[in-house]
């Protein structure tokens, strides 16, 4: 498709977009090949090498149990990228389903469900997330579910709006008039309109999903020991921030760079797909 190619070429011509894309590609490589890239076993405890400062043997130093911080960060890439995918998938799939149905049927059901969505939007993500995690029990999977559940209305709104406007476009009405079944119309003619905006919203949310999940881990409600999760590493390392600065600093830096990369990438994708899109 030439549209995709045009968007792609626009994306890489934008310098910040290019930077974001390159960084992300790097993170994906780290995540996929973590086992080969990481110089040490991220879980191997050796208290004799506790708190070795950054140096040739351990580029980012070691943590309170003598584990290599760099290796844990590299493996943590996997955890964080997965967390982003899961959150966006959960929020997206609930949101798309609800939004499509609401936009299509309109009326009472639409009104009720969308107001329910507003309610979720009104809750501060972290506070509701905290409550959900407290109910489900702490753990990375539950933290991801919590954030996903809190975020679905954003997707529902987006899709519903597009469905509403697409419904009355000439070709959809023509298809309906020609006797096409409701579901078929939905999938063949209406939903494709949502793909672009959804991709944009998903890329922009992705980084923040990582940030929020790390935040939950920081409070102790997310990833459990000994999972090398960045937020949990910052949380554990903050106790040693003053003398063993490397323990909390490097994972924090990686969260920052990843979220930034997704932000740059998301912006560029938006500009390439449709600069007027507000997501």
């Amino acid at each position: 498709m030439s549209g995709t190619r045009r968007a792609w070429s626009q994306l890489v011509r934008n310098p910040t977009g290019l930077a974001g894309t390159v960084l992300l590609a790097g993170f994906v490589v780290l995540a996929v090949f973590a086992d080969f890239i990481a110089p040490h076993d991220p879980l191997r405890i050796d208290l004799r090498t506790k708190f070795v400062p950054p140096g040739p043997g351990h580029l980012f130093g070691t943590d309170d149990l003598g584990r290599d911080v760099l290796s844990r960060i590299i493996h943590g890439t996997r955890v964080s990228l997965t967390a982003g995918v899961v959150v966006v998938l959960i929020a997206g799939s609930i949101g798309v389903t609800v939004g499509t149905v609401c936009g299509y049927v309109e009326g009472m059901l639409d009104e009720i469900v969308m107001r329910l969505g507003d309610m979720f939007l009104a809750f501060p993500t972290l506070v509701l997330g905290m409550a959900v995690v407290a109910a489900l029990g702490p753990g990375l999977a539950n933290a991801m579910i919590a954030v996903g559940v809190v975020w679905w209305p954003g997707y529902a709104r987006l899709v519903r709006g597009i469905v509403l406007s697409a419904k009355h476009v000439a070709y959809v009405e023509a298809a309906r008039a020609a006797g096409a079944a409701r579901g078929r119309v939905m999938f063949r003619h209406v939903l494709p309109n949502c793909v672009g905006p959804l991709i944009v919203k998903a890329t922009i949310d992705y980084g923040f999903a990582i940030l929020v999940t790390a935040g939950l881990s920081f409070i102790g409600l997310g990833a459990q020991a000994p999972t090398p999760e960045w937020g949990a590493m910052v949380a554990a390392g903050r106790l040693f921030l003053i003398d063993q600065w490397w323990y909390a600093t490097f994972p924090g830096l990686f969260i920052f760079i990843t979220v930034l990369a997704f932000g740059l990438f998301g912006d560029a994708v938006r500009d390439a797909v449709d600069p007027r899109l507000r997501v």
Partner: protein, 540 residues
Amino acid sequence: MDTVSTGHNAPTTASVTRRRFLSTSATGLGVALAGRRAPAQTGRSPANTLVVGGWSEPRTMDPAIEVDQWGRSILKNAYDTLVDREGGSIELKPSLARKWTISNEGRTYTFDVRDDVKFADGTRLDAEAVRLGLERIRTINQGVAWMLAVVDKITTVNATTLRIDLKERYTPFIETLFWFGIPSPAAVQAHDKGDQAREWLRNHTAGSGPYQLDTWEPGQQILTVRNPGSWKGFASRTPLEAVVGRVIMEPSPQRLMLERGDLDVAQITSVDDIPALQRNSDLVVQADPTILRQYYLFLNTKKGPTADRNVRQAIAWSYDYEAHNQLALKGFAKPATGPFPVEMAGGTIPNIVSYRRDPQKAKEALARSQWPKGGFKLDYYWVSGLSEEKISGELLQSALKELNIEISIQAFAFPQIIQFMAKPETAPHIVPLYTSSTINHPDGFLYFLYYSKGNRNWGFYDNARVDELIFQGRREVDRAKAIAMYQEISRIVTEDAVSINVNRPVNVDYFRKWVKGYTYNPMYIKMFRLREMWLEGKSA
């Protein structure tokens, strides 16, 4: 100890009322307090105010309810008790009771109550006030009340004589009495809205102690001020006029503030901070030798593989005690030799199994079990925020991997852990626990931890012989016989590997050099007897 005034001699400073101090003092504190009416210039930081960093804010100031460390520390200074300890000694000394006698085969305690003690509100303390204070605890039936469960009835014989009858003989009873602060009956009556004045005592104090609560800004600070009329007097001519406890839940800011002198005393949780703090010549880092506190990993004797004694023994033989105590805690934890601290009477126990890391013995023990090749998974829950408990989990995980046993680690809030521990089915297979006894007596550990109905029987241990011995010990008057019983209990529970006795954590106190008069007392960990303390040359 250099004491300016002791006993019932009213201190010379008594004539200076609190308000007057606060409004005449040139300190920022005084200005701020007085400033509620007339704001004046902000003065310098007060030189006779002690600033303490605290985490986990107290829930209430009610002496019948609050049991957490910081709250107890404030209550200890606001309220007096029948008996108390002084300086670093763990021996009980008379306090509100001048002396006491025990009769009726150890079931009746008769106290000679002081007649020269006044509450901060000006009313007089007598035997009836003490009785009302104790009855109030029993009526409210929360917090510390469980320790009074053994009491049958409390009688005021006359203004200076109080009698307590026990349901049965309980030799360590006198030890429990330093937990029960006595509030002013007049204050309780005046604020009793059918709730025993619980509402009011939540954020007020009405005791006879040297420091009473002035202001509590939730989430920010707790301010207590000196009660000049306090009957025990003060150790210094320039006693602390006020104490500010700042609510700082995070440990690193506490350390930063201690280093910069914004805190006089800080709570620092990590032993890795010690070397840097020791190099700082403005600070005192005081590690204390006597430890009446232990850190355990309890094994669930009623659920899954840990119900098998051999599995428990295998775990006890594989845990890396040395790495934990020497490397992770840098020696700021001493080995535990039995189920109660070695420093207590009878703590050196002959012929007790002494677990250490021994992979061979661990394999043998596992081979005797139903799961000779391992291949199962155990749950480990820890209290989020307590990093030593996290370390234990990760050490277990790496040690038990060799036995082909998997450990799943999860962190929870302490109240949730308490909840899980209500039943063996919901409890994890392994759970860490810090215990410091409420009393200086092995019963404080053994009854609590290994009695089948004990409050913290987190191994769900149920051994008729042990239960019997525990109750015999409580009734035994002959000290040597009692000790023999406690040692037998210790041998049984250790052989059964109900708990892994990891260590006795060394208490380390951190304060500015200008803080004087602080003595560590192993029964008052992180609690300050403020009347013994003062500040010398604290810069403004």
